[in-house]
Amino acid sequence: MELLVASAIGVLTAGGVYLILRLRAFPVILGLSLLSYAVNIFLVSTGRLAINAPPILNKYADVSYTDPLPQALVLTAIVISFGMTAVLVMFTLGAYLEAGDDTIDMTATEEKDDAA
């Protein structure tokens, strides 16, 4: 089980890194989404895996619980990463509409304009 989770994190990370190295904004957004999946699972996994032990207190029986802290952190991280994706999407749209394409690198002329 641990092996599956670890390898899934690895695959998502590799895919995410490959995609953020592309030249267009859309694959970069996809890549960032993959990376946030990977990071979120990674953070949850730092609480170690446990099955059938949700951190919901049981009043009637003495049972074990998984670590709730990483879960709380990841919960907000999921929502925040959505916000970040939305802002990026908006940048992409703006850049596309202003410049006519969605490349993320500056061209030589753009850089010159920037310096001037």
Partner: protein, 954 residues
């Protein structure tokens, strides 16, 4: 004997507070601003006056206020003889300059600005001389660099002013940086940053291994500030400043800061070979070189600038000798140089002001036209030359006396010979100042007919000249002051006896030689000058400019190489570097053996894993087809949600699946306006390289997380589990952590989310009103699509589902404290329910029925959460402490009421508002592009002709 005095911090602060006034009353005119500039100066002088008698008797006044004790930084001040002498000089000359500048500045110059800068500088300089803490001293030191930059560049319209200001800031600022290093070392050796402790630890400092670097770094600071060779070149260029500035900063105060520092550190640092050879040699070389150059300067202020450099060299040399007598001579000369040089600068300013030129070759004969100025200038210049009965003679004799028995590398004559040589040139340029400016016949080709200025202008230099003559004739008058300061410098009581006639000594012969030789040099000035010009002297400015240009080229080269505008390149470098660091750490460290048993793999999980891996592979390989990649992204999200359920994280599963839905909707909306495919732009090699980086990163992260999961750990979570119900009143520990234990974090996070929503709204607003909006309007709406925009089935289905979906949301919200759910998830569920209406029934129809402002929702969310947190103050507990109780109303079961639920309501509102605002902004774009807004939910009637439906751009 030390005494506390609370006056010291007030004295230090006064100029800074006073600096505000002239700046504010910039329109009030020169007289008013000058008056208000004088007020803080006079006040500070009076306060010093009350302390002066005590200091004369040997009392040291101190005052210390803790500032950043962790850094060893204290607002500590102390006043001893040396500090008092300098403070009086700074304030006294400051007062004279204030008066002088009132008449020097023209009505068009912004006088308020000038006086503000002047007071800033005065405060900084005063701070240097009365600081007890060397870190505080460094702060004031840098402030003098900055304020002098402002003063030198005061005439912003003059390119020389701007260049001179930049050069001065570069040189003195660089020196200041070196000095910071030196001071930190010094503080480290002495174990304290307080000057009094450092001065007492002189022997330990000299014995330390770090003595050499400390001395070199501190001297770099002092030499750059006091314009010592080879850093002397900034001072002549700083002469582009208005003359009052030159007189104040570049003769009397700032350039003396380096000398002051050497005098201050004298007991701690001097007396070693290194000190002697570094300081005395630099001083000697500077003195001679600058004196020679000064003779050939035609610009009055240029002549005075090099003469100042030369005299600063003289002072440096005296301090470098390391003997007590030399220190006394140095202190005395500081005083004398102040009086005659400031007077000379002001004289030069008067001449410039009246004749409209400072070129000595265009002047001459001014004695007849401006007799008062001529008397002042002559008296001061004779003192500079070292003629008896003027004060310059006394200290110069003392200098020559010290030089006459100083051995340099076991050579007895080199120092006295060079000192005499320097003195000779000093006489020559002083006499040139007198004879070529005031002497000779009256000319008829001055740019402006000169005459004596108003009294306000010559009073200041005249006042200084009184001292020149008074001390020159009756030197014993200055004895007390010199002894007071010299005692402070050397650390033990000195008994200097200042007198004019010392008998026939070597110094007398040297002096006579200098005067005679100087007179001869002046007579030979014309042929010598021609030869000098022919030889084409070396200009340090060109070297400085070359160095600066080199630095600029270098940094531009580096940043252009590293920062070439390619984001993918930075990302690649960043990822590769991070991965490398990780691998290095992994290979060099040790890893504990695995302690946890691995869990078994049920088949259903394996299937999920395969789906996830395949989906990722499809995205990576097929990301060019954007729709396809987006759909497959949803698969990954679903698998992860399912996985969260399996590994006991139900809250995360709920959140993930609702976020996934919203994200896909958002990306679909965005893709509507973006190209639908990604072109293949990378070479195969580049892709292989990227793939390598990606795989390395993936393997590294996988290994790391595997190592994590197979090892046991200790966590603080037991506390949360134990206190969740008892302290927080909820059984869902994750939710209790969010709204209670870590409520502060959550509060910050909802604010961030709200800001993200507002940012998107604002961006869209700016975008649509700019050129992008115009492009969007002209893009031509694509009619080639289904006309059934709002299919009947979907409209009906979503309307039926709406109440159910909202109910689910409410349910999830209410159970959140005890079961999986809560404000975050409920907010997302609500937004999905609303979004479905927008999608199914259309924008116009929905927004007419949806009356809430999303901005306000974000605002209310933050306000409610914040108020709930503040409510805790009422019961005297810290921010966001939650309270809860159980209520029993007869018809229903007992239930719990918790303030945490109110906080969660804030979270809910904020999430809902932010998500809706984001998607709302995107859909506004569609309308901008010409998409029609339906008035009816089902506005497609197949029986109507097509044109009726498509209003398009019409």
């Amino acid at each position: 004997m030390t005494t506390q005095s609370s006056l010291l911090p007030i004295i230090a602060l006064l100029p800074f507070l006073g600096a505000l006034v002239p700046g504010i009353m910039i329109r009030a005119g020169r007289t008013a601003t000058a008056t208000f500039t004088a007020v803080p100066t006079v006040l500070a002088l009076v306060m010093l006056g009350t302390l002066a008698p005590g200091v004369m008797e040997g009392t040291v006044y101190t005052m210390s206020i803790p500032w950043l004790p962790q850094l060893g930084l204290e607002a500590a001040f102390f006043l001893d003889g040396l500090g008092l002498m300098f403070a009086c000089m700074i304030l006294g000359v400051g007062l004279l300059i204030t008066l002088y500048a009132r008449y020097y500045l023209s009505g068009e110059d912004p006088a308020g600005q000038f006086y503000t800068y002047l007071l800033l500088f005065q405060g900084a300089m005063l701070g240097i001389v009365i600081s007890d803490n060397i870190l505080l001293l460094l702060i004031f030191w840098e402030l003098t660099s900055l304020s002098s930059f402002l003063l030198i560049g005061y005439w912003k319209h003059l390119p020389e002013g701007r260049q001179g200001a930049r050069m001065a800031l570069t040189v003195t600022g660089a020196g200041g940086l070196a000095m910071i290093g030196g001071m930190l070392i010094l503080g480290n050796i002495a174990g304290s940053y307080n000057l009094t402790d450092i001065l007492a630890a002189g022997d330990a400092i000299k014995a330390s291994d770090w003595y050499t670097p400390a001395v070199i770094l501190i001297l770099l600071g002092a030499f750059t500030k006091s314009a010592q060779f080879p850093f002397h070149f900034w001072l002549p260029h700083a002469m582009a400043a208005p003359t009052p500035v030159s007189a104040y900063l570049h003769s009397a105060t700032m350039v003396k800061a380096g000398v002051f520092l050497m005098a201050r550190m004298w007991p701690a640092l001097s007396g070693t070979e290194l000190w002697f050879y570094a300081v005395a040699t630099t001083g000697l070389v500077t003195m001679v070189m600058a004196a020679v150059i000064a003779l050939f300067k035609d610009d009055l202020k240029g002549l005075l600038a090099f003469s100042t450099v030369s005299h600063l060299g003289l002072l440096t040399m005296l301090l470098g000798f390391g003997t007590e007598a030399a220190a006394i001579a140095a202190v005395f000369h500081i005083l004398n140089h102040l009086t005659f040089k400031a007077a000379l600068f002001m004289t030069a300013g008067i001449i410039d002001h009246e004749a409209h030129t400072r070129d000595i070759k265009r002047l001459g004969g001014l004695a007849k036209l401006m007799p008062i100025t001529a008397v002042i200038g002559t008296v001061a210049a004779l003192s500079m030359a070292g003629i008896p009965l003027f004060n310059g003679f006394l200290s110069k004799e003392m200098m020559l006396e010290e030089a006459s028995h100083t051995y340099w590398w076991e050579n007895p004559w080199i120092v006295p010979a060079l000192a005499t040589f320097g003195a000779l040139f000093s006489v020559a340029y002083s006499l040139r100042f007198i004879f070529h400016v005031f002497g000779g016949p009256v000319r008829d080709d001055y740019p402006h007919k000169p005459h004596d200025p108003p009294a306000g202008m010559w009073l200041s230099p005249a006042f200084l000249c009184v001292f020149v003559v008074l001390i020159g004739v009756a030197p014993f008058l200055a004895e007390d002051v010199v002894n007071m300061a010299a005692t402070a410098v050397t650390g033990h009581e000195t008994h200097a006896h200042l007198k004019i006639w010392h008998g026939v000594t070597p110094a007398l012969y040297m002096s006579m030689a200098a005067v005679a030789g100087g007179a001869v040099l002046l007579l030979l000035h014309r042929p010598l000058d021609a030869a000098w010009i022919k030889a084409g002297p070396f200009y340090a400015k060109s070297a400085f400019d070359a160095v600066i240009a080199g630095c600029v080229r270098l940094s531009r080269g580096i940043s252009d190489t590293l920062h070439d505008g390619s984001i993918s390149r930075y990302l690649a470098i960043f990822t590769a570097a991070t991965v490398t660091v990780g691998y290095v750490a992994f290979l060099r460290g040790e890893i504990a053996p695995a302690t946890r048993e691995m869990l078994p793999i049920p088949p259903v999980v394996a299937v999920g894993w395969v789906l996830l891996v395949c989906a990722t592979a499809v995205i990576v390989l097929q990301h060019h087809m954007r729709y396809r990649a987006l759909v497959v992204l949803g698969v990954i999200g679903l698998m992860i949600s399912a996985g969260f359920i399996y590994i006991s994280a139900p809250d995360l599963a709920l959140t993930q699946i609702s976020v996934e839905t919203v994200t896909i909707m958002l990306l679909l909306l965005a893709l509507h306006f973006l190209p639908k495919t990604t072109p293949q732009e990378n070479s195969a090699g580049r892709r292989a390289l990227d793939g390598l980086v990606a795989v390395a990163a993936g393997v590294g992260v996988a290994a790391l997380s595997f190592a994590f999961m197979t090892r046991d750990f200790s966590s603080i979570s037991d506390f949360h589990l134990a206190n969740s119900y008892k302290g927080g009143g909820g059984t869902n520990v994750v939710n209790v952590i969010l709204v209670d234990f870590r409520g502060y974090d959550t509060y910050g996070e909802i604010i961030v989310l709200g800001i993200a929503g507002l940012v998107i709204f604002a961006l869209m607003e700016a975008l649509l009103s700019g050129p992008a909006g115009a492009r969007l309007r002209n893009s031509g709406y694509n009619f080639d699509r289904s006309h059934d925009r709002h299919p009947l089935m979907m409209v009906i289905a979503t309307r039926v589902m709406m109440p159910i979906a909202l109910m689910v949301g409410v349910y999830i919200f209410l159970r959140g404290h005890n079961q999986p759910g809560g404000g975050f998830v409920a907010g997302l569920v609500f937004s999905i329910a609303l979004l479905m209406q927008y999608m199914a029934s259309g924008f116009g129809w929905t927004s007419r029925r949806q009356q809430f402002e999303y901005h306000a929702m974000i605002g209310w969310g933050v306000v409610i959460a914040g108020l709930t947190g503040m409510g805790a103050w009422l019961s005297g507990t810290p921010f966001l402490t939650s309270a809860f109780g159980y209520v029993h109303l007869p018809p229903i079961e007992e239930f719990e009421l918790a303030t945490a639920a109110l906080f969660d309501l804030g979270v809910f509102l904020c999430v809902l508002g932010a998500v809706m605002l984001m998607l709302y902004s995107l859909s506004r774009m569609a309308r901008h592009a010409g998409e029609t807004v339906n008035t009816e939910p089902m506005d497609y009637d197949p029986s109507r002709p097509r044109k009726m439906v498509e209003k398009g751009k019409a």
